[in-house]
Every structure is written in structure tokens, then in C-alpha cells.
Amino acid sequence: MIQESLMATEPTELSPRDGIATAAIRVCGLVKQYRDGTEANRGINLELHSGELVSILGPNGAGKTTFLRQITTELRPTSGSIEVFGIDAIASPEQAKQMMGITPQDAGVFESLTVLEHFELFGRLKGMRKTVAHREAINLIESLGLTAETEKRVGLLSGGQRRRVLVGIALLSQPPLLVLDEPTTGLDPSSRMVVWGVIRRAVTDGAGVILSTHYIEEAERLSDRVGIISRGRLIACGSLDELLGCLERSYRLSYRALLDPFGKVCKCYFASFAEAQQRVTSEHLSEYSITRATLEDVYFTLTGERLANRDEEYETLV
């Protein structure tokens, strides 16, 4: 269903016009095998440019975090190469980290420090001067909607506010590359919008951003390109239009069975609107909708799995 050109497992996917100097990240043949033999990443290739945001989408355990942890130099790959703005991130991790702002998935904060102290001290640890760190801390606090919490100890903040502090720490010193591992997990919808705004602004300012998520909506709304990772492989990577345009059956019929009006929602895919309508007529469906396929449908078509965080429950008939 998906054209071969979107498959991201072959090294030939890398475009020759993309020189090392312009690539924020260049990953080639990345393999991570743990001691117990588990292959968390299997031959991943990816290139990210400045001013571009790539979302890595996949269910829990697909290998997203392992992939990002290797980019951030926290985890040593079994084989393959990672370059960050031309710097070999495996051989020179500290040099590579100078270029990055990182939000790990399960990082902790200092409960006794205030929000402002976090930003100022971590700004200093990123090499900023005291006055610059203070100024940037105030700007970030405002951008992240934490103004009322400026002098509050982080231990008194909600989980979502702490997550925003962690995202803010990654943004300090305006790094040219942001690596964000599920940056909005645990955030309420309005906080998520705030964080999306801050991330998109960084992209507009020229930063390259790679983030992992299991929120389809996040990938759809934020990304220039979406990479889909499943069982350790990057099975597709392209813009939303490219991914959607390659579905052979791009119309989705969602309906409830006639005799079970409170039951689960069923879904079928059709090549045309007319075909979908034909099914409605033949099945005498009264409660249904026909829509264009979404990223989630692409994801399902490629992986045969649904992402667990969707609100609706459904049975799928393809």
C-alpha cells in the first residue's frame, strides 16, 4: 500500500544533495542490540535538517526511545553511525551535546529548586553567562506559561508543569538541534498547545527538531515529516501528504453494527467514496461516517497495530 520510496530502511533513502554540513542529524544503519539479544533498533537511517521537525511515531516498546537515546549519546549503538552537524556523536559525545537540547522521557527535577533557579542554573551549565541565563529564563518561563510559578519550588508543581520545565531546560541557549522524547506526555490539552507553540517557534527560528510521540494528533499537527517505527525498524518516513497519498484505500468508513448501536465502532477502507457508500447501502447502515484516511490509518496499514492512546475503541475490518 505504501510506495517503496517512503520506506525508510534502505540507506539509499538518503538524498545525495544533503551535504553533511547542512544535516542536523544523519543516522546510518543504526543497530542496537542489548545483551539479552533483543534488537531494539534494526538498521535505522534518517536525516534531519535545520528548520525541520521530524516526529517519530510508534507504540510503546517500538524502539523510539532507544533510537533517541543513541542520538543524545546516552546509549552506545551496537553498529551504525550518528552525526550531529557533522560531528561524530559516538566518538565525541560532549562535542555533539553542545549542539543539542534534550528532554529525556523520564528525567527528574530538583524539588527544592524554584522554576527560575532551574532555568538559571541549567542555563549556566549550558555555558550561558549569568545575566543572559536570567534573561532567557524569564523569556522561557513566559513562553511556557509558567509565569505564575516562577518563584515556586518545582516540588509544588503538577506533573504537567514539571514536564514543561524539562522542555524549557532543553530549549535553554537556543540549541540548533532539539531531541525531545515524548515531550507532551502527561500534559493537559492546553499545556500541550503551549508546548507545541514553543517547539514550532524553535523550528521557525531554524532549529532541527526530532521528537518521539505516541500521539497521532501531535505528529500530524507539528511535523514536517513523520517517521513510523515498528519493532525497531523505521518502516516509513515522509511528509503527511506523502504518507497519506500512498494509501491505496484512502477512504474510511466508520460505523456501528445495526443490531449493536452501543457497541464498538467498526472501520473499513475503500479506494473511493462511491465504494464506501455502496457498502453503506448494502449493509443498511444508519450510523456511519465516511472520511479521508488519517495518519492513524497509514500507521495501521503499515504496522497492523493501533496506537493505544486513542479515545475511541473499535474493531477494525479491512
Binding site: T72, T73, E74, L75, R76, P93, E94, Q95, K97, Q98, M100, G101, I102, T103, P104, D106, A107, G108, V109, F110, E111, S112, L113, E117, L121, F122, R124, L125, K126, G127, L166, I169, A170
Partner: protein, 245 residues
């Protein structure tokens, strides 16, 4: 210059974090060691001689250093490791050695506050102390380095937070009570005598006692504690790595 700034930042983070923990610090660094001094003095009888009193005071200083360097510092390192704070440091272009050095600086500040206060406590209780400040500073610094090294190793090797905190607590107190810190080695049980004399706390207590009596003859203690510091800290630095395989 950047390295120094990094070390100072890590130190400041720990110092600010301590705002909420000042009570437990006073207990571990001052109240318990002072109480132990009084306890030892009471048990020894009313006619404790000056060398014996100096031994008790030296023992209490070493007890305080042990509790703050192994138990407290080890606990902080463990907390950072198991609550994800270490990951936050690992995201920065910060050398692991700067991170450890920030903690060491924090331990030195704690040690100087505790040692000075305990000397004042000794003075209040009538111990005539004429310390050789240079010897005292040297022995205290090396003791802190050596014990912090142990705390770092435990924090890096522990498989869980519970296991690590149990070990740091046990070592913090155990190294004082298993070594001839408050009492001369002859008073220790025969089976423990040999092993207890090679513990770092034993050398620390001997060195602090000598320094408190105004002696500069702390060469042996300085050399042994120095070697132990190199070994434990070297091992601790080696084990503290941002990167996993």
C-alpha cells in the same frame, strides 16, 4: 574556567536543595556526633584524661564526616540516579568528573561547618584543644575525599535505591563503630582488631586526634588516606558515566 563554573553550578544546586533538609543535616553532622561525644565521655567515667577527651572529640568529628560524606552524599547521588535527575545532567555538555567534583565541594563545605562546630562543642565541654590547623585541614580533606569516594562507588553500583541507601547508611555508621575511633584498638574485640585498624576511619581518627593535640606528625595517616582517596575516588569516577552500553 568553564569546568570551574560547571563545578560551582552543581555545588549550588546541591546547596539550594539543602534548604529543605537543614534539620536532618544538623542531626547527622552535629547532634548525633555531639551526643556520641557525651556518651563516650560518660561511659569512660568522670576522670577522663585530656588524650582520652581528645580521642572522643576526634571520634565525633570522624563520625560526623562519615555520616555526611558516605550516608548523606551517597544518598544524594543515589537520589539523583534513581529519580532521573542524573539523566538531566547527562543531557548537558557536562563532564561526569565536574558533576562529582561539585558534590565533593559540597561535602567539603559540610565538613568544615561540622568540624568547626564540633570543635566549639568540645570547647564548651572543657576540652583543651590546641589544634594544628594545617594537619587538621589535611586530614579532614583526605578523609572527606576517601569517604566520598566510597559513597560514589556505592551510588554507582547499587542495583536499586533501597539497596544503595541501606549500604550508605550501614557504611556511614558501621565504619565508625567497627574501627577504633572512640577507643584504642586494644579495647576492640580480638577478632576485629586487625581488620578494624586498616579502615579509613581508623586512620582518620588517629590523624584528627594528633592534629587536635597540636602535632604535625600525621604523615602516615595523610599518606594512607591519600592512597585510599585515589583508589576510591578513581573507582568512583570510573563508574560514573553518562553513557550506557
Amino acid at each position: 574556567m568553564r569546568r570551574l563554573s560547571d563545578i560551582l553550578c552543581v555545588f549550588r544546586i546541591q546547596l539550594i536543595s539543602m534548604r529543605a533538609e537543614i534539620g536532618p543535616f544538623l542531626l547527622a553532622a552535629l547532634v548525633f556526633p555531639s551526643a556520641m561525644y557525651l556518651f563516650a565521655k560518660a561511659v569512660s567515667g568522670s576522670e577522663a584524661t585530656l588524650p582520652t577527651q581528645l580521642r572522643f572529640l576526634a571520634g565525633s568529628i570522624v563520625f560526623s564526616l562519615s555520616l555526611t560524606s558516605i550516608s548523606w552524599l551517597g544518598y544524594l547521588l543515589l537520589e539523583n540516579r534513581f529519580t532521573g535527575r542524573l539523566k538531566l545532567f547527562a543531557t548537558l555538555p557536562l563532564a561526569p568528573s565536574s558533576y562529582i567534583c561539585g558534590f565533593l565541594l559540597f561535602a567539603f563545605v559540610q565538613a568544615s561547618v561540622a568540624t568547626t562546630t564540633l570543635l566549639l562543642v568540645g570547647k564548651v565541654f572543657g576540652v583543651q584543644v590546641r589544634p594544628s590547623l594545617l594537619s587538621l585541614a589535611l586530614v579532614v580533606i583526605l578523609t572527606v575525599l576517601c569517604l566520598c569516594g566510597l559513597g560514589t562507588v556505592i551510588a554507582a553500583c547499587a542495583r536499586s535505591f533501597t539497596e544503595g541507601s541501606l549500604l550508605t547508611d550501614a557504611c556511614g555508621a558501621g565504619l565508625v563503630f567497627l574501627a577504633p575511633v572512640y577507643y584504642p584498638p586494644e579495647m576492640m574485640p580480638r577478632a576485629l582488631r586487625g581488620a578494624s585498624q586498616i579502615l579509613p576511619t581508623a586512620f582518620a581518627a588517629d590523624g584528627v586526634q594528633a592534629a587536635l593535640s597540636g602535632s604535625y606528625a600525621v604523615g602516615t595517616q595523610v599518606i594512607v588516606l591519600g592512597l585510599m582517596s585515589v583508589f576510591t575516588l578513581g573507582f568512583g569516577f570510573r563508574l560514573t558515566n553518562w553513557r550506557q552500553n
